[in-house]
Amino acid sequence: MSEILGLKAKLGLDVFKHDKEPHIKIKPGMEKDPRLKRAVLVCPAGLYEEKEDGRVELTIDGCLECGTCRIACGTEVLEWYYPSGGAGVQFRFG
């Protein structure tokens, strides 16, 4: 699916603090798992993208830590942690 208009700019308004490593990872071998395709639809930040060969890729920058992908795809597909203390999104309004 193509990039959603204006979403990157919207995420750019949030304060993010860098983490040492991505806190969510697609488990090796699961890139084409049908459960992973759900993330493309449900992620409010649009961070999951399905490529032409059917693999789903995750860009962790801009993650709002909402937890939707963990619920939709499950932990067999995703290795899911919160970012380390003090890292990740820091809402100023919430």
């Binding site: 759900r38 939707t68 203390g85 809402f91 309004f93």
Partner: protein, 429 residues
């Protein structure tokens, strides 16, 4: 002797803060661990807080609380594709103190509340992610956080809707998509005088609106709008199951974009500037989806326990969070007085909750999730209402049909029977 806290609270959201404040007030030694830069930095609300159910649990708290606006105007918009039916409610009871509900922003509110808890003596450590529980002989003895081993008589898991602490303690499973919604919203800055003009408000009066129908393309959920002092919270809540199943396949962010472009909404936010975008999962499974509330050495409160409820006209979670935090604290205070922190002693939490508005609400509304899980509510009825209104207000070039037949043609026996069945379900709410 190594230090041992009376209680370690995982997560400084409203459940954790409610617990910390209550425990510290009674002089117990409390450690509150928060993974964000400050309390509220990872939290999202729609949002409003209803005060009546929790006013007396925290009597000294409200006078100086950093609320946004007290809500004096309630609204529902039933959205069809090209038209909408709007109901607006004002009542003098909403305009009189003590006010029933306030719009809030969590980064501001939680941070303030954490200061009050600290003032009572709670120890807050921010930027600290809890990685695991210390479990010995089947009992929770503390937590591991950032390489430190921290011990306590009891751990209160207030770590939010995904509650990995409750998972680790064996009190819950990850849960299925049907039991959760996702809420996401923009904070749109707008001059306060402009907000007052647009919504017909004065001073710190506020408006709340829910939107159902076309907004979610037939999926379980709706849109919401709350006025803050100098901004508008505008967002969508949608069932994760419906969203991931497609039919139609829509990416979540697109729903919000289209919602913003609806003329009914666009004119309310016109000239405003979006300053933040946030999202969070919401527990929506009701009574059946609550986790086990207590185990050996551990209690679960707030979203972590599943304490959030959508009954269509109101969507509530924060009062349940603060109240469950309060009762968890009371159970710990009693356990400390008895010098008995056993599982049986801590289970007093469940009986106190059982007698409170929290569990009574969840029992009263146990049928709500099923009754609202009906696609006709989000597609058929909004279109029907819109069409009836259109025909009633229509003045054609020729003669106008009588009103009764105008309405009647939409309500033949073929329509009324399924409506009757839907009504029977809705009447269970």
């Amino acid at each position: 002797m190594e230090e041992k806290f009376d209680a370690i609270i995982v997560g400084a959201g409203l459940a954790g803060l409610g617990a910390a404040y209550t425990l510290a007030q009674e002089g117990l030694e409390v450690l509150l661990l928060e993974r964000g830069d400050y309390p509220g930095s990872k939290n999202v609300t729609g949002g409003r807080l209803y005060l009546n159910p929790i006013r007396d649990l925290f009597p000294d708290l409200w006078k100086k609380a950093p609320f946004e606006r007290h809500i004096t105007q309630e609204g529902v918009s039933v959205m069809a594709g090209a038209r909408s039916l709007n109901i607006s409610y004002r009542g003098e009871e909403l305009e009189q103190e003590p006010y029933q509900s306030y719009s809030i922003l969590r980064a501001k509110f939680d941070r303030w509340l954490s200061k009050q808890a600290e003032r009572k003596g709670a120890m807050l450590v921010s930027r600290s992610r809890v990685d695991d529980l210390i479990i010995e002989n089947g009992r929770v003895e503390g937590v591991y956080a950032g390489g430190d081993e921290l011990r306590s008589q009891v751990v209160i898991a207030c770590d939010g809707v995904l509650s990995m602490m409750a998972e680790k303690a064996g009190l819950r499973k990850p849960g299925s998509a049907k039991e959760f919604g996702v809420g996401y919203k923009e904070i749109i800055e707008l001059d306060s005088a402009l907000i007052n003009d647009r919504f017909g408000l004065e001073g710190d009066e506020g408006a709340a609106r829910l939107f159902m129908g076309e907004v979610t393309k037939g999926k379980f959920g709706g849109g919401f709008l709350y006025t803050n002092k100098e901004s508008i919270s505008l967002g969508i809540v949608v069932g994760i199951q419906d969203l991931m199943e497609g039919a139609p396949a829509v990416q979540a962010p697109v729903l919000l974009d289209e919602f913003k472009q609806r003329p009914e909404v666009a004119r309310l936010i016109k000239g405003g500037e979006t300053v933040e975008y946030s999202a969070h999962v919401i527990p929506e499974g009701g009574l059946k989806s609550l986790t086990k509330l207590s185990g050996d050495g551990i209690l679960v409160a707030g979203d972590a326990a599943g304490f959030s409820m959508n009954i269509g006209v109101t969507v509530r979670g924060m009062e349940y969070a603060m109240a469950s935090g309060y009762y968890a604290a009371q159970a710990v205070i009693q356990a400390k007085a008895r010098e008995d922190f056993s599982a049986a002693s801590l289970a007093a939490y469940e009986s106190m909750l059982g007698e409170s508005f929290v569990m009574k609400d969840f029992k009263n509304f146990s049928e709500a999730p099923e009754a609202l899980d009906n696609h006709r509510i989000y597609t058929y009825y909004p279109e029907l209402a819109g069409n009836i209104m259109r025909d009633m207000y229509n003045v054609p070039a020729g003669s106008k049909e009588r009103l009764y037949p105008t309405v009647k043609k939409y309500l033949g026996l073929g329509e009324l029977w399924p409506m009757f069945k839907d009504m029977r379900k809705v009447m269970k709410i």
